[in-house]
Subunit: 159 residues, 2 copies
């Protein structure tokens, strides 16, 4: 097992890999293109935004009609698949946090279903190229995209 | 095909079922227990909240250590699997909307990957019972749960 998958003191493993107990399947709708690779990836979308570096979605052609009605400037929820993360840690000791926490109290990519969720703004839509510009993203270049949803303030803001 | 799966004028089918082209697998971590079934389900979590009816999560026992660090009153992001929704409509004519829109411009459960996302507040945590109380949810009783994440205003609020 690589260093990336080393278990730190205080961390708790599930004892099984959720990948080996499938209940449903995902189909990737495209990829996120970002400036980031291992070692320089911002830890969340706010940090990514602060770098001033944009990103874009490459949508698979069959899904392009699904963009109809989305507009430049609009905030959207992206759900994407952190494909390199292990799935079997239920208690973690992240480098940046003070002490151990349960996986569901963390935004770590390491979780039973390694889905990430970010709210980003659409900066452009190019149906010919099959791309959607977004203001920022916090994942590696090439990360698989699972869903795009309109963000709705009156529903999604808990305040 | 049942009425529930009828395609309306103006709707566009993908021509394949994304369920039959799996790229990754999900493992359900529990179920959402709600007062809702077909015919009376609120259309979003705000509408669910306005009914005054609470809900709760039943977490599978092996995932309970993952709750450590979550607190009553805290907003969390829930990701859940709308298991009864068809996955092959890329342009839709929802009953409540005016005209057709692309699937990614809608919060309809009908989408290539029928994941729903809601921000809810924790109202109680009972580790012995394996349940997490939440203020509201907008899905059928028994809907499979995929993830719980802390909602972080400085990251998740686009305003």
């Amino acid at each position: 097992m690589s260093d990336r998958f080393a278990t730190r003191p205080g961390e708790v493993e599930l004892g099984f890999d959720p990948a080996e107990r499938p209940d449903a399947t995902l189909h990737f709708i495209g990829r996120l293109r970002s400036p980031w690779s291992e070692g320089d990836c911002p830890r969340n979308v706010r940090a990514a935004r602060e770098t001033g570096k944009a990103a874009h979605i490459e949508l698979a052609p069959e899904f392009l009609p699904g963009l109809e009605g989305l507009e430049v400037g609009q905030p959207v929820v992206l759900i994407y698949w952190m494909y390199r993360a292990r799935r079997d840690l239920i208690r973690q000791v992240p480098r940046h946090a003070d002490g151990a926490r349960g996986t569901f109290a963390l935004r770590s990519p390491v979780r039973p279903n390694p889905l990430a969720m970010s709210v980003v703004k659409i900066t452009g839509i190019d149906l010919e190229a099959g791309t959607v510009g977004i203001d920022a993203i916090d994942c590696f270049d090439g990360t698989p995209l699972v869903d795009i949803k309109p963000w709705i303030g009156t529903v999604d803001d808990p305040a």
